[in-house]
């Protein structure tokens, strides 16, 4: 399966992010994780790099993507109106699809 159109959707949504970090205040996983990747700002930026295929799918990248609770608490504070959980779902979709295909 060709995931390029899903990747374009990921890029479209994730490039709205200004990296302001306003979303981080409400994320339940950020304080439990060892770095920014466990919060919405990090997840959105990694999604962007993943969408653009400029990042290898490292261990920490997977942890970031699969520790998201999809709770959407972060969306309440995002001035750009980014749907973080949906973005994470799309990234998971591509990742898992590609693993299966391989």
């Amino acid at each position: 399966m060709d995931y390029d159109d899903v990747r374009s959707r990921i890029i479209e949504e994730a490039s709205k992010c200004s990296y302001c970090g306003f979303c981080e205040q409400s994320c339940p996983t950020l304080p439990l994780g060892p770095h920014r990747g466990y919060g919405p700002r990090g997840r959105v930026y990694l999604a962007l790099l993943f969408g653009k295929k400029v990042l290898t799918e490292t261990r920490e990248f997977r942890k970031s993507v699969f520790t998201c609770l999809l709770c959407a608490a972060c969306t309440l504070n995002c001035p750009a109106g980014i749907d973080v959980p949906n973005l994470v779902r799309l990234v998971r979709h591509v990742l898992l699809g590609e693993i299966e295909a391989a």
Binding site: E12, Y19, F22, P34, R36, G37, R59
Partner: protein, 469 residues
């Protein structure tokens, strides 16, 4: 480099050192939109960790880049080729003393978290950048940040009593500069040298901050004006009546038309917004409020909202409208370009408040030439304006235009007797602007002195190199 990284892992422990490219990428970008190229992120958990990092960097001559929450808008937090030192794990509040009026904290504490702790004691830390929910104390100190209450409480430089710092030398020397008390004559004032130094002089590992009581009462008014001159005349009159303005905020009509969307009770407002709040005791609050309303009415405000305190202003949505400046700037750009992937270029000039009319009018005519989507907001209480234009990054011509606009706006500030940066700092983006300003002041030697000070703290130029001067 592997040997050096392994050495650092041994020194600090593996869980504090990350070379995973995903993690490095997350700490190589900041809110200005700039991206850097660090190759390692370290997460010190104590002053001795920071000292070990500074020692290691000195010995190996490897640049280190301190970082709080990377919300910098100047390029100051974006790393070059080197090691990012993230202070996010150093986030303990050691002590809050009402009697001494201080809070003793680590640099990774977020400003909003400090204020939550202080609120239980009826106190506050009054420097409140719009980014306070995420911005850290270390980042705010090093940016010399300000906020909405700047008219009354100034900026970070007025609220830091004492600092613990680490300098990059062979020992990773730890020092305490300044005093726990406000009064302090400890030779040259190194504390205020570090404040606003953008991580170029020292790594801040602990800070004793001043705190102040929450105002007993703060009568607040918000009015909407058809023209800027009337709005500023109202502001001037409030000042001449000797009210201690806690905040005096401005949004232009474009920002208002977008910011009001979805805030109940503000459907019919239009024009430029003026929000003013005065610090007072309970007894005087009603009298001051009536007077403020009269002043706004006399100067032609169409619709006026009031609140007895900032808490009530929050509940009624008055502060929400003001806080929506940033999303409104984004939305305005999206509408103009007809796409969601836009960036907003936020300026940060300051002019003497007596020059605000000239500044606001000239900003408008300058921006019209460029044909870019424009919004203006600002802390008029202290003369700090944040004009912003929206751009699309995939069009080089637009990016160039925005850059030219940026330079012209800085020149305007200098011409009006103001400065190119009030609170966001110099970083990478305003180095040329700083030179322009010092040239205009016929004080270029000041830049040489700044460079000499940098060498005294950081002889190998390994601490956030390339920033500020």
């Amino acid at each position: 480099m592997t040997g050096e990284i392994e050495e650092l892992k041994r020194l600090l422990g593996r869980d504090k050192v990350y070379d995973d490219p995903s993690v490095v990428a997350l700490y190589s970008r900041e809110a200005s939109g700039l991206e850097g190229n660090g190759f390692l992120v370290v997460f010190p958990e104590s002053t001795s960790d920071v000292s070990a990092i500074a020692r290691w960097a000195y010995k190996r001559r490897i640049p280190i880049y301190p970082q709080g929450s990377a919300t910098s808008l100047s390029g100051s937090a974006v790393p070059g080729k080197g090691v990012i030192v993230s202070f996010e794990r150093m986030n303990r509040i050691y002590e809050i003393s009402v009697v001494d009026s201080i809070a003793d904290v680590e640099p990774g504490v977020r400003i909003a978290d400090l204020n939550e702790a202080l609120m239980t004691k009826g106190y506050m830390f009054p420097v409140d950048p719009a980014s306070h929910v995420v911005a850290t104390i270390g980042g705010a100190i090093n940016t010399g940040a300000g906020g909405m209450k700047g008219a009354r409480y100034g900026t970070m430089r007025d609220w830091v009593n004492q600092l613990e710092i680490v300098v990059p030398d062979e020992k990773g020397t730890v020092m305490r500069v300044g005093c726990r008390t406000v009064k302090c004559r400890q030779g040259l004032d190194l504390v205020r040298l570090i404040v606003g130094s953008e991580g170029t002089l020292a790594l801040v590992t602990r800070a004793v901050l001043r705190i102040t009581p929450l105002p007993e009462s703060s009568p607040t008014v918000m009015g909407f004006f058809d023209n800027v001159e009337d709005l500023l005349a109202a502001f001037t009159e409030l000042k001449t009546r000797r009210y201690p303005l806690l905040l005096a905020e401005f949004l232009d009509e474009t920002a208002v038309s977008i910011a009001k969307k979805g805030v109940a009770g503000f459907e019919s407002v239009r024009g430029h917004m003026f929000l003013a709040s005065v610090e007072s005791n309970h007894e005087a609050a009603e009298r001051i409020m009536d007077d403020m309303v009269a002043v706004l009415k006399n100067h032609g405000a169409s619709i006026i909202y009031t609140a007895q305190s900032l808490g009530e202003a929050e509940e009624k949505g008055l502060l929400t409208i003001r806080r929506r400046l940033f999303p409104a700037q984004i939305e305005n750009a999206r509408r103009f370009w007809g796409k969601s992937n836009v960036r907003v270029f936020i300026e940060d000039i300051v002019v003497p408040p007596s020059k605000l009319v000239n500044a606001i009018n000239e900003l408008k005519s300058i921006t019209e030439k460029y044909g870019l989507p424009y919004t203006l907001g600002g802390h008029i209480g202290d003369g700090n304006l944040h004009p912003a234009v929206g751009i699309v990054l995939d069009d080089k011509k637009v990016v160039e235009k925005a850059h030219e606009w940026y330079v012209e706006v800085m020149k305007l500030a200098i011409r009006l007797g103001g400065s190119i940066s009030a609170e966001h700092g110099i970083g990478l983006l305003k180095k040329d602007g700083l030179r322009l300003e010092m040239e205009k002041l016929d004080s270029i030697k000041a830049l040489d002195i700044m460079k000499a000070i940098k060498r005294a703290f950081d002889p190998l130029n390994i601490l956030n190199p390339g920033k500020l001067v």
